[in-house]
Symmetry: C2
């Protein structure tokens, strides 16, 4: 019983034994919409989509797990790491902007942020233009910790990028962006990291 039927109905496609169907349409075009209706688009088939789910789950899990040893040492969690990451990415970010990036509630962030501040990883200063705001940034200690955490993940990603090559990396980025909500895509890399989220930037 070496059934090929990985899924229920879905007949084992001819190329299914090929690891992940690692030969894509090959119809060449680097541009979008490559491959005519009849010619290719094999990469759009159900099995390929399920494989993509697998890839997301495993890659994300393994990547995030790679920093856990350090976090455990310090009695911090992944939520702390995420906050450190985005505060580092956008120094001077306001609390509400951080909430919008993380898409969690104020109360969820409050605990995490409170600990990071109390333990000296994050600094809060009153906003100069809008004094209601508390602008967040990393202390030297916070920057050092974020870097330690980053290094673990960096090693992994550098290796993956190097092994895959520049063209693959570009493809990776295109797909990752495509999977996001449109709204998220806008927040991704604004010219001015912060201005996009603030409605008024005089």
């Amino acid at each position: 019983m070496d059934h090929k039927s990985i899924l229920h109905g879905l007949q084992g496609e001819p190329g299914a034994s090929n690891p992940a169907g690692l030969q894509p349409p090959a119809s060449g075009q680097s541009g979008p919409q490559a491959g005519g209706a009849g010619s290719g688009l094999l990469f759009l088939r159900e099995e390929q989509m399920r494989l993509a789910q697998d890839l997301f789950f495993f890659a994300y899990r393994d990547l995030t797990a790679s920093a856990d040893a350090i976090l455990d040492e310090l009695d911090l969690g992944r939520a702390h790491h995420r906050a450190l990451h985005f505060i580092g990415r956008r120094s001077g970010i306001a609390v509400s902007e951080l909430l919008a990036l993380l898409r969690i509630t104020k109360q969820s962030l409050a605990r995490v942020l409170g600990e990071l501040i109390e333990r000296g990883y994050v600094l809060q200063v009153q906003g100069p233009r809008d004094r209601r705001q508390r602008l967040l940034s990393l202390t030297d200690q916070g920057r050092a910790l974020e870097r330690r955490l980053f290094e673990r993940q960096r090693e992994r990603m550098v290796a993956a990028y190097r092994d895959a090559g520049g063209v693959a990396v570009e493809g990776f980025r295109r797909v990752m962006r495509g999977v996001m909500d449109e709204e998220t895509r806008l927040l991704l890399e604004p010219r001015d990291p912060v201005a996009t989220l603030r409605r008024a930037a005089p």
Copy 2:
């Protein structure tokens, strides 16, 4: 100033205003290791690695969130979805194999699995060869639910794949695999979905 210093150079690189440095080395080769030491590898720089972290976080978050509406309706969580997914992927999987895929503890799985069984989404049958095993599969109802959940994510991924094109998809897969633990990579798509995890397959 296109420093080869892949790491901590840090200062705002000239090309940083380009969205994600969307021009990769372009040194062409689809094969790994494209680009000699001096020629490219710009995609390995620190900012690119931090961007990759962003991409992972946002893409994974938005993808998984897309099924949440259905799950909420049924008072199920993401843990249930993951279990349904892998049981659907590997029909007849044993509990210990599922645990190895998910990398959670028996107790964590127990609750989720118990609910899925009790509510008629998952079926358990005693292993024919090894009667200690409880082999898991989806009921018709479970298959239907898994499909509903899958469809939401499929739409998103199909769009992303189509827009990005076949070459990009291939690149995406290469990078995603590269980020995983080696051990994970082995579990990803075994010829026989289940045999790899069982030590004895007579």
